[in-house]
Amino acid sequence: MSTDTQTPSYTSKTLSPQVDRIGLILLGIGVVLVIAAFVFEPVRAAFDASILYLFMVSLAVGAIFLIALEYITGAVWSVPMRRVTEFLAGLSPFLILLVIPLFLNLHDVFHWTHQEAVNADPVLQAKTPYLNVSFLTVRTIVFLGIWVLFSMLFIRNSTSQDVTREASLTTKNVRLAAVFLPLFAISITFTAVDWGMSLDPHWFSTIYGVYYFSGTVLAAVSAVTLIVILFHEGGYLPGLRRDHFYSLGALMFAFVNFWAYIAFSQFMLIWYANLPEETFWFMARWENGWQFVSVLLIIAKFGVPYFALLSQESKMNTKRLKIMAVWLLVAHLLDLYWLVMPTHSTGASLSWVELGFPVVGVGMILLLLSWKSKRYNLVPIGDPKLRRGLDFRL
């Protein structure tokens, strides 16, 4: 290992224009499909928009969380790939675009927004201090504000370090991380409650926020892993080695287990207590075809990735990591579908309406990556921990 002050030579690169073009095409197709969905099946489309919002929050806010985690723990291994995480975190401002359709269609999605239903229902009346549209609006704006603010501050400090090489910028980000982490816990929990749990306003599960958190971090880690490996293969992140990929794989594996642990905890307590006001939520997911989705979810988000990532070798195998990253992102989408959709349709079904939403998401991410890569270095070249990060060994 050499001293910290020495920085590796870096020649700035931008992603191939291909990325731009594909991103634009996907976004175009996606938007057309989404508009068609809202025209022909507005209610189902509104539910799909909720799923997309929760998915993109997972990627964007999960990425901010990973950045904060690196700073607060003083981790060095992830420094060389932090720019990728920062690019993903740069999605945060665009979440505002994604939340607008939700507010336009609140009435289609949320039972508790129906005044006559609330009037006839003492349980909903008791929940109105929390479940009302104005408070929901305030909460959403505050959370989005926190995410946008912190992602911008983290990224600004990190990117200006490329030029100034000031070590104090790292200290600033450590402090930011300390402030952000509790805010993250609160905002992600209530986002899950607001856009997921309150779909069934009678139902409650105190672990629901953690459930969403576990999937969120898993999705963010998977997305970072996927992009990092693709960048590495494209020659954009040459310094990485299997020690780095192993660490990403280990994080993925850890959060696969964490998700399964939380998911099972939620299920087991409700199954054991067997109270009708709690079990109906699982019953809705164990009838009319949803049981197949439930089993598929267990296999997809736990069974397959668990065995695929168990061995040490597999966590260093970039090809397998790439496949598992895509797999887990799809599994997270399935998870959100499983959380949200049964409220809309009691029978499990897949419709063309769903199609456009993930396409919009992928298009947005590609465009974002290409745009960010033009503005910023792909490696945080001014970070005092970069040398150690590149030299990282297991």
Partner: protein, 378 residues
Amino acid sequence: MKKPLYGLTALFDTPDALMHAVEETAKAGYTRYDVHAPYPLHGMDRAMRLKPSPLGYFALVFGLLGAVSAVGLMTWITLVDYPLVIGGKPFWSWPAFVPVAFEITVLLASVLTVVSMIVIYFKFPNNSHPLHDTPFLKRVSSDGFGISIEAVDPLFDEARVRGMLESVGGKDVGPVYFDVEDLNHGQKVFDLKFVGLLAGVGMVVSIITYLGLNVMLYMEPFSWMMEQEKLKPQAASALFSDGIGMRPPVEGTVARGFLPYPYKGRPEDAGKYLVNPLPVTKPVLDLGREKYMTFCSPCHGNFGRGDSRLAGQFPNPPTLHSDKVRDWPDGSIYHVMTDGQNVMPSYAAQVSRDERWAIVHYIRVLQRAHHAKESDLQ
């Protein structure tokens, strides 16, 4: 006697210097050497050119063993040994097994992996090592980074190794010798004094704990189940207007299994009107035998001959094989058990209704066995 040489050791000030030395050592072709540092060093395994440790497979096997045995144990308990209906759930309620299976899996995987590491790699029970109690080991367990190359290495040559270690910046390069005493008296773990000391410490600690916690200041280990928000029998309660916690049964109702006995004090009517509701089947007879042996045999003898095992502490009952009892209808025997007869008390509180009828069947078996007819022998 000259002490046999164990090997050479060298100290380094920084992990980087050690890492460099290790790379050189591995490059020179040495294989029997080890590295000592106060904390784990990233990348050391690879610098030493170690193969991946097989311990992972131990963990896998022990983990699987834990999972299988936990699920097997709970399956056997809930299906075979003690089937209990809990919360109206099926006997084999696998979700309830998952946490236990998970814990046992982790427990066995971790504990047994450490144990096998100690047994296989540290050669338990041998606990002596030439490096123990050397100044070298004191340094590398506080602030030094060291390497030791063993004399058994095929390439070992004291002068060459010393030169190599010094050339890569090693300090305090010096030999370490086997302790002859240690060599002759290995396996110190099973030394009588050591084992005795361990046992003594264990005993003293247990006694102090017992005296301190249980005798001097009585402390309940767990009281969560004892202190519940519930009314205990005989306790007062402000909730009810009469101030009594125990409630009488609702007027006109009878608790399950507590049907009042209509022939109290009327043995004749019992004999006349009561009919044994149970069929004569093997399970019923088995039940009757079990209950007879438990509740009746102490006084009436194992075969109903009136040969009490109470050795005169209680008046001996008459035999159950008398013509009188053999001619009694089932209801009369049932009545004696239910209502008592003279000094024999009622067993209605201990033995349920069906069990009493099963005992009646079993007494009939005993009587038949005692007065077997010719035809029974064919």
